[in-house]
């Protein structure tokens, strides 16, 4: 090992014009936004929404959430996935929590399939904000995948009492299926963050 890693630093309070400019109304196109699927993509349409809360339960309005997920067949749009991905689904989304009236992140995407090897369907999540010096890695699992979740090799590494922090509740609304997933940075319901 010849070189040492560059240290992480906080994204700070002013990331929006650099990382989520379109969402916040700045004159630069977004690399990726919160609408992750176009009309031609196969899969069950879902909305993922939630809030990011600090140690006192206050809603954080300057966080940025990134999602990385497989397509409906469990394939990642990346050269290391030998199975390839269905065309047009990049599987990556970004949303700041500053533009929604309730300071939520709201993603429109498809429900991912299992990537195989006993993994339950899940979405990989990266969490950034002012006051967070190193981004957090977590995952969203789906409450209606109870059987698959019980066998998932990552979830089963998590102390049982904390697994619920990684599970999004499913709700049906007139506009479609919504999974709710709040991220608690601290407190009794502190979300599980991974060292990976």
């Amino acid at each position: 090992m010849a070189l040492k890693q560059t240290p992480s630093q906080t994204v700070g309070p002013y990331f929006a014009f650099g990382l989520t400019p379109e969402q916040y109304g700045y004159p630069l196109d977004d690399v990726a936004g919160a609408v992750m699927c176009g009309r031609d993509i196969d899969g069950e349409r879902i909305r993922i929404e939630g809030r990011v809360l600090d140690g006192e339960g206050a809603v954080i309005s300057d966080a940025m959430i990134e999602l990385w997920q497989a397509d409906a067949q469990g394939r990642y749009a990346h050269p290391r996935d030998p199975r390839g991905s269905n065309a047009g689904f990049a599987g990556f989304g970004r949303c700041g929590t500053g533009t929604d009236p309730d300071k939520r992140f709201v993603f429109d995407t498809i429900k991912p399939g299992s990537i195989g090897d006993g993994h339950a369907p899940h979405i990989n999540v990266t969490v950034f904000m002012r006051g967070l010096l190193v981004h957090g890695f977590t995952r969203i699992y789906f409450a209606d995948e109870e059987q698959a979740n019980a066998a998932d090799p990552v979830l089963t590494e998590v102390p049982e009492a904390r697994r619920a922090t990684l599970t999004a509740a499913r709700g049906e609304t007139p506009s479609g299926t919504i999974y709710r997933f709040d991220i608690h940075m601290q407190g009794a319901q502190e979300t599980v963050f991974f060292d990976v």
Binding site: K4, T6, G12, V31, W68, Y76, E157
Partner: protein, 235 residues
């Protein structure tokens, strides 16, 4: 997949801690429970792919991409370097997203209430991509220092924010590049949150060779992402 294709862990001797008392916002925002270690799967070994397709011709030139009726105010700089992994292998075709304050220390972001002037010819956001050798280059003006509310008379040192994906989900990095000799570095709780031995890796080096005559001062800033390790991954 074979056992040698996973990524080395985050080096906690290099990375800042989540709770850093001197940086007050960490107190209620940094996770307090131990991180749960997990083995890398396809979810971590893959990651979003963004490269040349994501960048437009002026995105790497912050002295030009925000112009309305003239040149931005400030000391022009050119920043270059290489994105490498821990084994010094170049990370090619990698997107770098950039954002910074203007020369007066004011961000275009509407939340920034510092009363230094906005520069009508400077936006402060941009992007560039590494070439086949991992090299990148962008142009800007040197960002100014600005006050913040962390403690009495607190000022952030001059810095540029950089965001990279690298080859996988786990190589994601958001960092800040600082300037050599800045007297505010020794007073900045964000910079100082980094373990002492790793701090110099956040400071660019001035280079007369990179400096462009009659145009811009040159700085070199190499970025090292997590390398590939031998940790066995799930088969």
């Amino acid at each position: 997949m074979s056992t040698n294709e996973s990524f080395r862990p985050r080096d906690w001797g290099t990375q800042p801690r989540y709770i850093e008392p001197a940086y007050k916002s960490t107190a209620l925002r940094g996770p307090t429970r131990p991180l749960v270690p997990i083995r890398q799967s396809l979810s971590e070994l893959t990651g979003p792919v963004y490269g040349h397709d994501s960048v437009r011709p002026l995105d790497h030139d912050l002295t030009k991409n925000g112009v309305t009726d003239g040149e931005p105010v400030g000391e022009r700089i050119v920043v270059t370097g290489r994105v490498l992994d821990e084994d010094a292998r170049p990370v090619s075709n990698a997107l770098i997203e950039i954002w910074q304050a203007n020369a007066a220390g004011r961000y275009i972001h509407e939340v920034d209430q510092h009363d230094a002037p906005v520069d009508p010819n400077f936006f402060g956001g941009g992007r560039c991509v590494t070439d086949s050798e991992g090299a990148y280059r962008f142009y800007s003006v040197r960002p100014g220092a600005y006050p913040w509310g962390n403690h009495a008379n607190a000022w952030r040192p001059n810095h540029i924010h950089l965001s990279l994906f690298g080859p996988a989900f786990v190589t994601r990095l958001v960092t800040q590049m600082y300037f050599p000799g800045d007297p505010l570095l020794d007073l900045d709780p964000i910079f100082l949150a980094t373990p002492e031995a790793a701090r110099e890796r956040l400071i660019a080096k001035f280079s007369i060779d990179v400096t462009e005559p009659d145009f811009a001062l040159g700085y070199v800033f190499d970025i090292v992402l997590r390398g590939r390790g031998e940790t066995p991954m799930e088969s």
